[in-house]
């Protein structure tokens, strides 16, 4: 495992632990607004007028940026992972169906994938978010519905190759049912592209979530998410740049780590295929 992948794993692990445990340990309500005038715009590493120290400073309402960042991380990571895993699952399912059952099922799934891939994912997300009520369930559903096509394509090609192999014929000859055959013999051999795509998908889902929340179409305030925190810091870019800087860095670190790990998994999978 190269050094950069090790570092990425450590960074992601630390981030997840901090986001899960942080809000419990910090003893500060990240959404509560206290003495605004005394506490707002404290710079990172500074103490505000009430004598409280803030590692990442405070925002326009005097809320601690670090506490909000960690709470926001829970939502952003949850939405990102849920969106990517659901996309991967849907893609694997539809890919197996399309690859296994040639004919109208294959045609239908391929046409749907072509259609959805022709519309830029962000545009599709924007249209959906504008039409339905914004919120976390909508966000995860739409992420899953717009993210399955790549995985489905890869799995379909993989399954089409696998069903021609001797071990599949052997399993059939031994009387395995199609369900058993798919679950125990075909799917495990087609799982590598699903894992790679899901890992890479976490990064893009987190990025899309932050984008939609930045536009006010994703996670709704007062619940913090990295995207809506950046949106909140936009007006104070000149006087208090740390409000937008901190959540942006959190997105960059998370997505970079997920992408580096995904790339490495992909290289390994390609290396194994080459033999």
């Amino acid at each position: 495992m190269p050094r950069r992948v090790q570092l990425s794993c450590v960074a992601l692990l630390l981030l997840v632990v901090a986001c899960v445990a942080g809000p419990m340990l910090l003893q500060r309500d990240p959404t509560a607004i206290g003495d605004v005038l005394a506490q707002r715009y404290a710079a990172p590493l500074a103490t505000d007028a009430t004598g409280v120290w803030h590692l990442f400073g405070t925002d326009a309402f005097g809320r601690d940026v670090l506490a909000r960042l960690l709470l926001a991380g829970r939502l952003s990571l949850l939405v990102g992972v849920a969106g990517a895993v659901l996309s991967g699952f849907t893609g694997a399912l539809l890919g197996v169906l399309a690859g296994w059952r040639a004919g109208w099922m294959d045609m239908l799934i391929t046409a749907a994938a072509d259609m959805l891939q022709a519309i830029p994912r962000l545009v599709l997300l924007l249209a959906c978010a504008a039409l339905w009520r914004p919120g976390i369930p909508t966000l995860v559903t739409v992420l899953a519905l717009t993210g399955w096509m790549g995985v489905a394509r890869l799995v379909r090609a993989e399954v089409q190759g696998l069903v021609q192999r001797d071990f599949v014929a052997a399993a059939l000859a031994l009387g395995a049912s199609p369900k058993r055959l798919l679950a125990l013999h075909v799917l495990p051999n087609a799982i590598a592209p699903v894992l790679v795509a899901t890992t890479l998908g976490i990064g893009s889902a987190i990025m899309l979530e932050s984008g939609l929340s930045f536009l006010g179409l994703g996670v709704q305030p007062p619940s913090p998410s990295w995207g809506n925190m950046i949106a909140g810091g936009r007006e104070h870019l000149v006087t208090a740049p740390w409000i937008a800087l901190a959540p942006g860095l959190a997105v960059v670190i998370t997505v970079t780590a997920a992408t580096l790990i995904g790339d490495w998994l992909q290289e390994r999978a390609a290396g194994q295929a080459r033999g």
Binding site: I119, V123, A127, A130, G211, G227
Partner: protein, 326 residues
């Protein structure tokens, strides 16, 4: 020829499918346009009249067919927010977006391919790893956040460094987009374009460099390089004239695949820099729940992707040096 016709046929069917999907999407949304347009105190009779005006009371199939017919004739409907034809706003926004999109695409490809090629030549070296981490980081940074950082840099940053206002880059407020009467307007446009083009090109190039590197590494594994070196070419010539050229078709195919991503980036960039193109139009329409505009912009973006893919498919064979000159 038959292949060509079939390719055009599938592109056309795809376009129709996308039209149907977007129509279904808009019509499955809760609430209807008439309710959005009227003030809450409006009575049932006004609502019914407006619904009749907007032809929302017709059966869905009839609405769909009429809408499809209008699109075929180039009529994209009327904006709910401004009451003006959508074609008008699109005609104003499209060239503005095209200018931004095409110039950043050009820069993206140039920067991305040369960076990928430089990395592939030194594959496995510390410089390669450093560039991989750098490009992955840039690729992972949200474009809207980078745009905000660029705005902060040219405003507060430049001021704190004591750069005189004359030399600073403008962040927003492009005066008359699309109208270029004289050199001063041209200069104004160019000055405003620097930051959005730079943000788009840097993030795009980071993505292109990532796959250009692996495509070129793959090409260098083949016999092309050994043969070129064997016939006495310098390392440099063997690399640029043979290895990179062999990788070019797959790079071109992947660049075409990344067009939706560039579109997505440009939506945010146009939003942050107040660049009056299609992305800004879409964001405004989304904020105002202006369904006809959302539909039209979505369709146009999809059409752009489908046409790009079609063109790439047609041009790709000619890029491959192994094809020969038949």
């Amino acid at each position: 020829m038959a292949h060509l016709l079939r390719r055009f046929g599938t592109a056309f069917i795809l376009l129709w499918l996308v039209c149907t999907l977007t129509f279904a999407l808009v019509h499955s949304a809760p609430g209807d346009a008439a309710l959005l347009l009227l003030p809450p105190e409006a009575d049932a009779a006004t609502l019914a009249r407006l619904r009749a005006d907007l032809q929302l009371d017709a059966p869905l199939l009839q609405q769909y067919l009429r809408w499809l017919g209008n699109i075929a004739r180039g009529d994209l409907g009327t904006s709910l927010a401004t009451g003006r034809p959508v074609t008008e706003s699109v005609a104003a926004a499209l060239p503005v977006s095209m200018g931004l999109g095409l110039s950043s695409l050009l820069l993206t490809v140039l920067l991305g391919v040369s960076m990928g090629s430089a990395q592939a030549r030194r594959a496995g070296s510390p410089a390669d790893t450093a560039l991989t981490v750098l490009s992955t980081t840039l690729y992972s940074a949200p474009t809207f956040w980078l745009s905000l950082a660029a705005v902060a840099a040219v405003t507060v940053g430049a001021a704190s460094l004591g750069i005189p206002p004359k030399w600073r880059l403008p962040a927003f407020a492009l005066r008359d987009p699309g109208v270029l009467h004289d050199g001063a307007a041209m200069l104004d446009l160019l000055r405003h374009a620097v930051l959005p083009v730079l943000v788009l090109a840097l993030t795009g190039a980071a993505g292109v460099a990532r796959f250009a590197r692996s495509a070129i590494v793959e090409a260098a594994r083949g016999d092309v390089r050994r043969t070129a070196l064997g016939k006495g070419l310098t390392t440099r010539a063997a690399w640029t004239r043979h290895v990179v050229r062999v990788a070019l078709p797959s790079i071109a195919a992947l660049v075409a695949l990344s067009v939706p991503g560039i579109v997505a980036g440009s939506v945010f960039v146009e939003g942050v820099f107040a660049w009056p193109g299609m992305g800004k139009l879409l964001l405004t329409a989304v904020a105002q729940r202006d369904h006809p505009v959302i539909l039209a912009v979505t369709l146009l973006y999809a059409a752009a992707v489908i046409v790009t893919n079609l063109l790439t498919d047609l041009v790709l064979p000619f890029l491959d040096p192994r094809r020969g000159r038949a």
